[in-house]
């Protein structure tokens, strides 16, 4: 495992609103690997906030190349998640999060040819809602 302690950007938790409606929340993660990769390498992202679980279907993933769903990832080779780049996750949760501290856990699964045993890289932190 590598970059676990840097994966979750601790100051990045925010509510996600559009047109005055609280759609959910957002946070940022950096790649838990020593190089950038085409998005097709990204197999799964799991998020848990205060014990409530969110899966890949509940979120979108945004990098400099654009915003994508996990269902799109297997066919994306042009757009990349660069090394050190903060990707923004928008997670759907009607009403968003209450102000204050939240316990956040994120798991990222990458498919890397020569590292078949890698598994999910998990990171957790208590994060203040901005």
């Amino acid at each position: 495992m590598m970059y676990e302690k840097y994966m979750l950007c601790k100051d990045s938790l925010a509510n996600w609103e559009e047109d005055g409606e609280a759609l959910g929340y957002s946070l940022q993660i950096r790649i838990p690997y020593y190089r950038g990769v085409p998005l097709s390498f990204l197999e799964d992202i799991l998020v848990e906030v205060d014990g409530e679980k969110f899966t890949g279907d509940d979120l979108t993933f945004t990098v400099s190349g654009g915003t994508f769903t996990l269902q799109e990832m297997p066919t994306i080779t042009f757009f990349r998640w660069e090394f050190g780049e903060k990707a923004t996750l928008h997670i759907r949760k009607p009403g968003g999060l209450k102000p204050g501290t939240h316990n956040v856990v994120v798991g990222v699964l990458l498919r890397i040819s020569y590292l078949p045993f890698m598994g999910y890289v998990n990171a957790w932190a208590d994060m203040e809602l901005a």
């Binding site: 495992m1 970059y3 302690k5 020593y34 660069e82 498919r111 040819s113 020569y114």
Partner: protein, 328 residues
């Protein structure tokens, strides 16, 4: 005819990841350590737009090289055969990618690629004329647990001898001269809650040169996770006799100077550098040893919090050690 001094900017990966050093900052640090050869993983530290920089970006790269009095050596590429979820890459796709790598490397002034050993021999054979055309060598990394004496290297050497090409080489990684697992890596394993009995077994088995497959089975029986079973290769004894370099170094122009921890006496705490450098010097070998610091990753678990290793200082010590053993 003497060993040349390089740094893979991989050594400064954490600084780069956190935005503390940019590409120029990494080049400057390498220069200050005493290196004149610069190795880059373009997917880690892009040179301009990855994978095809603009002409202006290429000019800027060369002006950076001139500014610091250094030059490009090796460009590291990968054999990403699981690029697609539903299938592995075909040989023709791999060859197409490899030819593009030669082209990209040449444009940026690199004269050798670091390739991975999952690449099939028939692809390599087809790639040789392109390597020769572009003037960019292939360099297949001999990375632990792969040994110098291995079927894979036999195949590569057979191909080199058969074709007579100078554009197919091996890139030995100094991790093959590791005497025992690095304590920084072992400590991480313990912090992550690995059963101490399993850790003790791994260290003993490594000392006793228990075959890797047997070690994997033993820890599986002790209840190890798949992830741990996969990392057993780090503990299996894979020390190569430096004298073997008298046979194998003639097929190499570039070594990865892998290291995990330089102590205050500028000595690596688990890898034999003295033996291999003595042999290389005796042979009059004059390629690059390119520092590849990886010890920063031993402190990436969450328990380590704000603690970090000074990558720049580690590389500086690494070069002091190499110069000391090379008698400079």
């Amino acid at each position: 005819m003497s060993i040349k001094h390089g740094v893979s900017l991989y050594s400064y990966q954490e600084n780069y990841y956190l935005g503390k050093l940019d590409l120029e900052g990494c080049v400057a640090a390498a220069k200050n350590a005493g290196a004149d050869g610069i190795e880059v993983i373009p997917e880690q530290m892009p040179i301009g737009q990855y994978p095809y920089p603009t002409d202006a970006q290429v000019d800027h790269w060369f002006s950076l090289m001139d500014k610091y009095g250094v030059h490009p050596t090796c460009m590291d590429v990968f054999d990403d055969y699981t690029l697609y979820k539903n299938r592995t890459l075909r040989a023709a796709e791999k060859l197409d990618f490899l030819i593009d790598c030669f082209r990209r490397a040449k444009r940026l002034g690199f004269y050798i690629l670091r390739n991975q050993n999952s690449l099939e021999i028939d692809v390599i054979e087809k790639a040789i004329p392109y390597a020769e055309e572009y003037g960019v060598k292939m360099g297949f990394e001999v990375h632990a647990p792969l040994m110098l004496q291995s079927e894979r290297n036999e195949q590569l050497i057979e191909l080199i001898e058969k074709t007579g090409t100078k554009y197919l080489t091996i890139v030995p990684d100094f991790g093959i001269f590791e005497k025992h697992a690095s304590r920084v890596n072992v400590n991480k394993l313990i912090r992550q809650g690995t059963d101490e009995k399993i850790v003790e077994y791994l260290l003993e088995a490594g000392k006793n040169k228990v075959p890797q497959a047997e070690m994997m089975e033993a820890v599986r029986k002790m209840g190890a996770s798949d992830k741990l079973i996969g990392s057993v290769r780090m503990y299996a004894n894979h020390y190569n006799d430096p004298e073997l370099l008298r046979t194998y170094a003639k097929y190499a122009v570039h070594f990865h100077g892998k290291f995990y921890e330089m102590d205050e006496t500028c000595t690596e705490t688990c890898i034999d550098y003295e033996g291999p450098i003595r042999v290389l010097k005796d042979m009059g070998w004059d390629g690059y040893i390119s520092s590849e610091f990886e010890g920063q990753r031993a402190f990436h678990d969450i328990e380590m919090g704000e603690y970090y290793v000074d990558e720049v200082e580690q590389v500086r010590r690494h070069h002091e050690m190499i110069r000391r053993y090379a008698g400079e």
